[in-house]
Amino acid sequence: MEEKKEVLRMENIVKVYSNGVMANKGINFSVLAGEIHALSGENGAGKSTLMKIIFGEEQPTSGDIYVNGEKTIISSPQLAISLGIGMVHQHFMLVPSLTVAENVILGVEPRKGLLINRKKAHRQVEEMADKFNMQVSPRARIEDLTVGQKQKVEILKALFRGAKILILDEPTAVLTPQETTELFEELKRLKSNGYTIIFISHKLNEVKELCDRISIIRQGRSMGLYDMKDVTEQDISNLMVGRDVILNIEKKPPEIGDPTIRVKDLNISGENGKTFVNNVSFLLREGEILGIAGVEGNGQSELAESLTGLRKYNSGSIEMCGKEISGCNIKDIRALSVSHIPEDRMTTGVAPALSITENTLSDKISQEKFSKLGIIDKGKIKQYGLEMAKDYQVLCKNPDVRIDSLSGGNIQKAVLARELSSDPKVIIANQPTRGVDVGATEFIRKRLIKMRDNKKSVLLISSDLNEVLGLSDSIIVMHDGQIVAYFPDAGKISELELGKYMLGIEKQSESEIKEACHGQ
């Protein structure tokens, strides 16, 4: 094998953010041409920071960067792009009101005179999407897309700009297994065409499967560079976390109680008449974790939104803790002890400019514990913020810092802290461990199981099959807005089987599906 060229090299990178957090403490990092290079580390280890430095979005406080052997100061993303570096961010950077094509070509539009050549743009984007096997309509508006589709647009955008070195910051956090497999094939094809890929993921099996080499960082410091064949998943998580992580979840058999959510003949459609949820009926009971498996965009998110009052439903009924919720607003539903971990933390899950403390209190500030006659008890609030940050291991300088200064996984932990600490009876968890590192995932899953053991109900929506299978007591599979399968015992199905139902290849009989209502 020929000696591969080093396309990127970073020496002694130090980064201090303007709030005084030192995110990188002298990191060395080196990437060879044509490899897929993993970057791993806990939440807040400094991965995204390092990547943003390569992409010219953040300037290092000190340290040197060499691109193709030449010392370079990457002063802006424009420069990075012209050097052939592309980045797909952990949090989306798309303009919601524009179409897919408009987003992809933004800033590099094909022109006809002074005007944008829309036809050509659409064609180019379509061709590109075809070439990389990413199904998205160039004319769809970003705001109408699912998270998984948005992810594809982000990747297209980077490729469209001619990236040769592609940075993917947790691209699979939002993808289903099938989509992930597709993506991996694409990435491998890109690799054989000479592209270089830097890949960040908290899913170690993916990292192991896809990547050639791995750099590990912990608390802003390099923990070494390894050939993938020399390390096991356990080794990696040990190096990242500094202790053994148990990835298998142990739980005792469920003790099922009374129903908490009763959904009957539910139909939800959008403003343009598109059907999201089609005649869905099921029952969730105390002491049960009911998983909803499905490829993203098959109605799960709309279902969750209707259950929590964020979206109106057209017909059918939803009973929550014994109460029909059609006339309820979000506050009433929350008052029934329902909490909701939203799918997209940045748009619905937090107020970015407010503190961690304030974000964990947004739903309970009016409770007597925290305020009397509308006046806030400062001491109590401060203490609560500290407790939350500690309990849920939110890595921060202190809980008074803006929440958007946290790393992605730590923002997710803060969201979980808010939703799980309100002593809910029903938890609607949409991708609860998205972007959370192995250690914290273990912790969150244990927490959910403990709540279920305390007779709470959990509706778990996740595209992570591992998670659905490992956590759920029973599983519903949704395809195209309908329930296509119900498995009363999640322990008895395989990933493969589930996958067939998710893709709509198979469908259970009416009577089997009806089981989800438990005769009610």
């Binding site: 406080t61 929590t308 964020l310 506050k331 899950g349 107020a351 947004s362 500030i365 806030i376 202190n398």
Partner: protein
């Protein structure tokens, strides 16, 4: 206070100083360029406001209305709304106060209080209009508030000229206010009136409202991410409307206080524009109600200086507008002093992490 907050404070202060110095430099340049007696103009502008007790009083008097409108702006913008209604609410407030002051005989004290409350109520009502239009039909509050400001101005002047006009006066003036309605002067030898006390108290109250009440917290959440507020179970539109109504009441009350504190008749033929300057003051105060008095005093000083300069020299008072513009630019400019700030932060962070050596290269 942790090192980081300290650094931010130092840099903010330094920025303010620089903004002030640059403004002074600018005045110097303008004066040197346009005046035939620059020394005189300088003196009038910079020192003039401090040359007599009465003039110092003028600064405080000029600050008073700005404090009300700045608070209104802080509330509206804080809830993520861009209604410019502070201007109109202020002016309708003067109309309301004028009507009570001229036509409703009441005992001293109570009379002013009622006049101010009516002013506040009218301000609130005017501010409610763009809020409701947005709530019902998603009409942009920017546009409606701007248009409404004109309507309010002409309506008020119409009311004065047709129903409350002093017929014996050749210029536009209302009939005289009843003595019982006037706000008392609190410092002899100046015209500093009770309105300023009210303004300072309101600054404290609004600070409290924003940072110590559940309403304030909800308001800030709505202002930052309405989607998230909705998801948290907060009544988003309610908060948006409430913030504008309270803001309208504040601005309206400011109008009333200005009228009853400084005048004995309504004499404006166009709106004095305190609503606009209020935006500048809010920005200068970094949206912090506790800094509003300082920011308003500074703006007051500039205005008084400019007036004195206009009277005593050949430089016109419009200079102040230029200065205000430049100062707002400088204070809003994030990049200013960024390197210096970053360096301090890096040092502090290194000290904390225990790292040595000079690794700064930017």
């Amino acid at each position: 206070m942790d090192s980081n907050k300290r650094i931010h404070l130092i840099v903010d202060m330094a920025k303010l100083m620089i903004a002030i110095l640059v403004s002074c430099g600018l005045v110097t340049a303008i004066v040197l360029g346009t005046s035939s007696e620059p020394m005189n103009a300088f003196f009038s502008f910079f020192i003039g406001p401090f040359t007599s007790f009465r003039r110092i009083g003028n600064i405080v008097e000029a600050a008073s209305p700005l404090m009300f409108t700045a608070l209104a702006v802080i509330l509206i913008f804080g809830a993520g709304q861009f209604s410019m209604i502070a201007e109109g609410a202020f002016f309708i407030g003067t109309l309301g106060a004028m009507m009570v002051a001229t036509s409703v005989p009441l005992p001293t004290g109570i009379h002013s209080a009622v006049a101010l409350l009516v002013a506040a109520a009218m301000g609130a009502t005017v501010a409610l209009i763009p809020a409701l239009l947005k709530m019902k039909w998603q009409v942009s509050e920017v546009v409606t508030s701007l248009m409404l400001n004109y309507i309010v101005q002409f309506f008020s002047i119409y009311m004065v000229s047709y129903y409350f006009r002093e017929v014996s006066s050749s210029s536009l003036a209302s009939i005289a206010f009843l003595d019982t309605s006037l706000l008392p002067v609190i410092i002899g030898g100046t015209r500093i009136h009770a309105g300023i006390i009210l303004a300072v108290i309101l600054c404290l109250l609004i600070y409290f409202l924003l940072f110590r009440t559940t309403f304030g917290m909800k308001l800030r959440i709505v202002g930052n991410n309405p989607k998230f507020a909705n998801y948290s179970g907060i009544k988003v539109t309610g908060i948006m409307v409430a913030s504008q109504v309270i803001a309208g009441a504040l601005a309206g009350m400011g109008g009333g206080a200005e009228l009853l504190g400084m005048y004995t008749r309504f004499k404006w033929t166009s709106s004095p524009g305190y609503g606009w300057t209020g935006i500048a003051v809010a920005l200068l105060a970094r949206n912090n109600p506790l800094l509003v008095p300082l920011a308003a005093l500074f703006m007051g000083y500039l205005n008084v200086g400019a007036n004195i300069m206009a009277r005593n020299s050949d430089v016109s008072s419009e200079v102040v507008k230029i200065i205000q513009g430049v100062m707002i630019l400088m204070i809003a400019a994030e990049a200013l002093l960024k390197k210096w700030k970053q360096r301090m932060i890096v040092e502090a962070a290194k000290a904390e992490t225990g790292m040595k050596g000079d690794v700064v290269n930017d």
